[in-house]
């Protein structure tokens, strides 16, 4: 597979604050690549440097093996996290305006269908809800048939239904062969959409792999959670490594079934039991010692 983007030793300094510290990664053509991290981790800065919106302090960005040239903007689509459109233009007029900016634009009717914009075509931009605006922004990001699509926190502020609709659109465009680079602080979104994930913290990339391999590498086993009242015995006698979280006991086990067998043999009440399988949030917690949303 071709490498569509190569980021080499990227660094960005704002005054005394280093936002990105020697970040390096490559993105394979046709995949959905996620930059995962908490707010302030440097995801958006990294993304905007790759997009050629802001300049790097040092480092190199290659697009299809070459420095980004004049055609770069014709071949990429961007959905920014914070941006704005002309207030008094309708959705339809906005689409037409952007359509005229490109040499080989996408069929507008297709985009309108894909992003479900028909009901709001005549509405003005300043009358759109958060979800409607995100759909329009996504349509604008796709208006030039881009090979590479950047989505910066695309589902932030959306209700669950809108988020799910957005994810469906992202999967559709990925199925068309487009490469997607997205930032998110939602591990659920990253696990659902991304083929590869780079975890960022304090400007550095601390891990980079497929979600499954990251979990497998850093968070083996599962957790069984039980209220403390379920135990009639001394916790020190338990054949598990465990820890107390408020009034809940968290037991670590390599195999859930094996753990349950042991608990049943100890005659422990499992009525209020929950089982937690590790996810990217646990990976992040393991790697940084803090939660993603901290």
């Amino acid at each position: 597979m071709n490498q569509i983007v190569e980021v080499i030793n990227l660094r960005k300094v704002f005054g005394e604050n280093t936002a990105v510290r020697d970040a390096s990664f490559t993105v394979t053509e046709g995949i959905c690549f996620g930059l995962l991290g908490p707010n302030g981790a440097g995801k958006t800065t990294t993304m905007e440097i790759v997009e050629d919106i802001i300049a790097a302090t040092s480092g190199e960005i290659l697009y299809q093996g070459q420095p980004r040239g004049a055609s770069f903007r014709e071949e990429i689509g961007i959905q920014f996290q914070h941006t704005s459109l002309l207030n008094f233009l309708s959705v339809e007029e906005t689409l037409i305006s952007f359509h005229k900016l490109y040499q080989q634009p996408e069929d507008l009717e297709y985009l309108i269908q894909l992003c479900d914009l028909h009901p709001i075509l005549k509405q003005r931009n300043n009358q759109l809800s958060g979800g409607q605006l995100q759909r329009l922004m996504l349509a604008l990001a796709l208006i030039n048939r881009p090979r590479l699509v950047f989505l910066d926190e695309p589902s932030t502020g959306l209700d669950p239904q809108s988020r799910r609709n957005l994810w469906d659109i992202v999967r559709t465009i990925k199925a068309e062969g487009k490469t997607i680079i997205m930032t998110t602080h939602s591990m659920e979104e990253a696990e659902y959409l991304c083929d590869e994930v780079a975890i960022m913290d304090m400007g550095s990339i601390i891990a980079w792999d497929t979600p499954a391999r990251l979990i497998q590498t850093h968070c083996q086993g599962s957790s069984i959670l039980l209220p403390e009242s379920a135990f009639k015995m001394s916790l020190d006698a338990l054949p598990f490594s465990w820890k107390r979280r408020d009034k809940t006991i968290v037991l670590k086990t390599a195999q859930v079934q094996e753990g349950l067998t042991k608990l049943l043999s100890l005659d422990i009440d499992l009525t209020e039991m929950t089982v937690h399988s590790p996810n990217l949030e646990d990976v992040f917690l393991y790697l940084t010692g803090k939660k993603l949303r901290d």
């Binding site: 802001i54 903007r73 990429i76 002309l86 008094f88 007029e93 305006s97 952007f98 040499q103 604008l140």
Partner: protein, 347 residues
Amino acid sequence: MNFKRMWAMFTARNHEFFRDRAAFGWNFIFPFLIIVGFGLIFGGKEHQQFKIGVWSATVQIDFAGSTVPLSFQQGKYLQFITFASQAEGEEKLQHLKIDLLLDIHSPQHRYWINDSSPQGYVAEQIFLASLQDKNARLADKQVIKGVQIRYIDWLFPGILGMNMMFSALWGVGYVVVQYRKNGTLKRLKATPLTPMEYLSAQMLSRIFLIMFTIIVVWIGSNLIFHFQVHGSYGALALIFFLGGLSLCSMGLVLAARGTSEEFTSGILNFISWPMMFLSEVWFSLEGSPAWIQAIAKIFPLTHMLTGARKIMNDGATLADVQGECLILVAITLICLTIAARIFSWNE
């Protein structure tokens, strides 16, 4: 330069402006109100040049038994204002509210002037001349022929120019900074649009709106004041067009960088107020120090108004104002180039 992209930005900005009812309305109402206001003040006629104060027991002035010569009483450019007392009249004279104060019953023709008032000096000369007339001295009448220009005809290009200046500087400069601050420009940076295309589109959109406004305000005001245009309307439109372009390009330079609306507002005020006072919008700089007149030449508004008044008031042709046209074109090209070179989509 891709004209398709420029056209897309041009039409988008026009839609935006025409739908913003408040901004749209104010662009027409503001100049119209000023013109109507001045029209009411000056009655659309010649300016009453000299105000002569007299004190009288009645509101209506009564010249019965007065020693004021009849020719002065009926003076065409004199306006008589009555005061209840001599003291009140002297106070008004001290504050230059009137040009001359007369005791209309004094056999010695007693009068007062403020020695710091040039208008008072002229009024005095008119009064003294009327006294000589009364003494039956024949005057040798001298007439200077010239085109009579009403004050409103002189002022009108100035008001239009002032409105153009505010519309160009604020409508381009301030708006572009707002777009940068709220991320509209950042979104456009992600497209193949170049700064020159974007700035040219902004400038052309604004000049289109300015010319549209001028035509509407002109037609509306002309119904009331019946302006006298001694030159051609085409030449007048061209000088306004070139002046508008130069003012818009100046606005683009001011808006080329920065995201602070407050700072931009300060800079725009810093530029626009001196330009308004030094570009002969309200009064002529004739007689002012040479260095002030030299500073005034920096401003495009000065050249636009000079050209417009030559055409409107003196009947000048395009050939007569080619110097002003060339300066305005040069200012436009220089400012637009600078703006495109230093332009930033986002900070």
